[in-house]
Assembly symmetry: C2
Homo-oligomer: 364 residues x 2
């Protein structure tokens, strides 16, 4: 017995019981004792080493099975000095595209035997927790930030200590931190050019707030300008909500409040910041007696399942979130291999999903 310094008066029970009982889960030593081998050999079997005789391997496996032994990840990672875990910080799990990103992340990470530890930044922060600190204490091997981050405090510190990738956001540009984001400007151009291609000239954009809203607006304006339609571009501000989209559309499409605007000036197409505000615009259009798409074409963004409802059936820009996740995972793996590589930034090109909410403009 290697552990000879055990108390002599300890009862020689089956399990080397600690004082008041409470049977602990079996350890590698328990398995070794049961199989009649050393713990080192059990360790070798666990690692699938080829240099173990078949007889002993069987004995060990049997013992593991009988005792229901499960290796202790904490002990393992303590000596390995890596956890095979990456922290994933989410921000609003209500947002469905997160799931796509996670899905993409997962596909690559699992192939590399890494598990994901997810935290909802919103929940944690509300409780005054600092996710960055927690992830560091857990010694995650890497960090993925998905989406926008209300306060980047702590992130910078975490990022300089462990491989970090930002996915789905352009925002915090940090020294050794890669970034994979949707090319919002490109997506907005796609949507706008689709409308222009149909023959629309007077096209409105219902804008969103924040950096994302700005990029999409910029894409819209760029497309209009490069087709010589800058004079026909209208931007009405929204807030990304249905209500905001509704109100913006009423301002765009309703009876002119100033004497300046004539009926012919009414936009024949609207490109909205996102699907939800597009739905608001749709409501407004119908209330105003405009048929979509005959009288008004609509394009949304994000290709959420709202757009897929037959009742709405919106054209929408699909930002390939799954691809964002995959690429982010790729970046993270690369960075785990070479932590000091310069930060890389890449954009993923979205695609336009065509359904039934656009058509060529009617007779002007």
């Amino acid at each position: 017995m290697e552990r000879s310094n055990k108390r002599a008066e300890a009862p020689p029970g089956e399990r080397p019981g600690t004082r008041p009982g409470a049977d602990r889960p079996p350890t590698i030593r328990g398995v070794a004792a049961r199989a009649g081998v050393s713990k080192s050999l059990v360790s070798l079997v666990l690692q699938g080493s080829p240099r173990v005789s078949d007889a002993k391997r069987q004995a060990v496996l049997a013992a593991i099975d009988e005792l229901g032994y499960r290796p202790n990840a904490a002990a393992r990672s303590l000596v390995a000095r890596r956890t095979r875990t990456v922290g994933v910080l989410l921000n609003d799990m209500r947002n469905p595209w997160f799931v796509e990103v996670l899905d993409g992340l997962n596909s690559l990470l699992q192939a590399h035997d890494l598990r994901m530890l997810m935290a909802d930044g919103r929940l944690d922060r509300r409780a005054g927790h600092d996710f960055a600190r927690t992830f560091q204490e857990l010694r995650v091997d890497g960090l993925v930030v998905v989406g926008t981050l209300p306060d980047t405090t702590g992130l910078a510190e975490a990022a300089e200590r462990l491989p970090t990738v930002i996915a789905g956001n352009h925002e915090p540009r940090l020294p050794h931190t890669d970034l994979v984001a949707n090319d919002d400007e490109h997506g907005a151009r796609l949507a706008t050019e689709h409308l222009i291609g149909l023959g629309h000239r007077r096209i409105a954009h219902i804008a969103g707030q924040g950096p994302v809203g700005e990029r999409r607006r910029r894409g819209f304006e760029t497309a209009m300008r490069s087709h010589g339609l800058a004079a026909h571009a209208v931007v009405e501000s929204g807030d990304g909500t249905e209500e905001g989209g509704y109100r913006a559309a009423v301002r765009l499409l309703g009876p002119p409040r100033t004497t300046r605007r004539t009926p012919t000036e009414r936009p024949t197409a609207v490109f909205a910041f996102n699907d939800i505000s597009c739905v608001g615009a749709l409501s407004a259009a119908q209330e105003l007696g405009l048929d979509v798409p005959a009288d008004l074409s609509l394009v949304g963004y994000d290709n959420t399942y709202l757009a897929r409802i037959r009742h709405l059936w919106l054209n929408s820009v699909n930002n390939a979130s799954h691809e964002v996740g995959r690429r982010a995972a790729r970046c993270l793996l690369d960075r785990m291999a070479r932590p000091d590589a310069p930060a890389g930034h890449q954009l993923v090109a979205p695609a336009l999903e065509i359904r039934g909410s656009t058509a060529p403009p009617g007779a002007v």
Copy 2:
């Protein structure tokens, strides 16, 4: 320099090369050395022990700060034999009510200094992973299963080893495993009685599949029967999708295909299995020229944000998912205190959210 065990020939760069040593994160010993105390004293400070002199405490805190020390959770939990972590198994993160449940869970768990480790069962299973095994290896202190579980293999085994609670599902009844679920039958009764209360008599139900669908159908039938309307109850099967709801509604509301059905027999109200199939029914109604709610009343289920779209504005049953999460957390905490208590099952009562999709029936 404090890190004196560094190879003498290693270049003294800002970032020490990863070559042989790879600077490890500071440990409690490093902090102790820097503060000029023993590691035990550092440990005491970390635990906020009152029996440490102020001078030394300050020295230790300063050292921690300067080195950017973060305690190693693995080492800590190894000796503590608990991780202060509960595993949360999700199944389809696309489903928004999960988030509510998580939110509810989180509120209580964080108050008890427990963190949540989330796994998406769908993702894991696809990769041939066994979440139950993983959670056991991580030695989580408890397990929460949220929603339905495709295969319960492994769960039974996990549940008998660690405190487990099922949230949001009636399904696997296991020995020492509590269960907190939505009272679907009650919710369906609420919806049906609301319609009955408005004066509807001929009411249809678009059913869903699986155990949940069955419970909601049963609630519908019970309510109809207890108001003497069993003869007027119609159940048309759907599949929980928009398409299924649409087709079911067409069968219910469209021109009678058999000579038996007369126009007066057409239902004046439909209670759908969920919001999405309710939206399908809404589409069908509008295509058939029926006005909602004047000609047809609709009630959905789950109170998703679909129901909140002004365009749809559906009455819907709101199963208090946040409350489900809270109660599940409560159960888990109780069970962690007394693991051998008998299994408890509780149902959370839903409420009907009234919007604009119902009205008294028109003249018959």
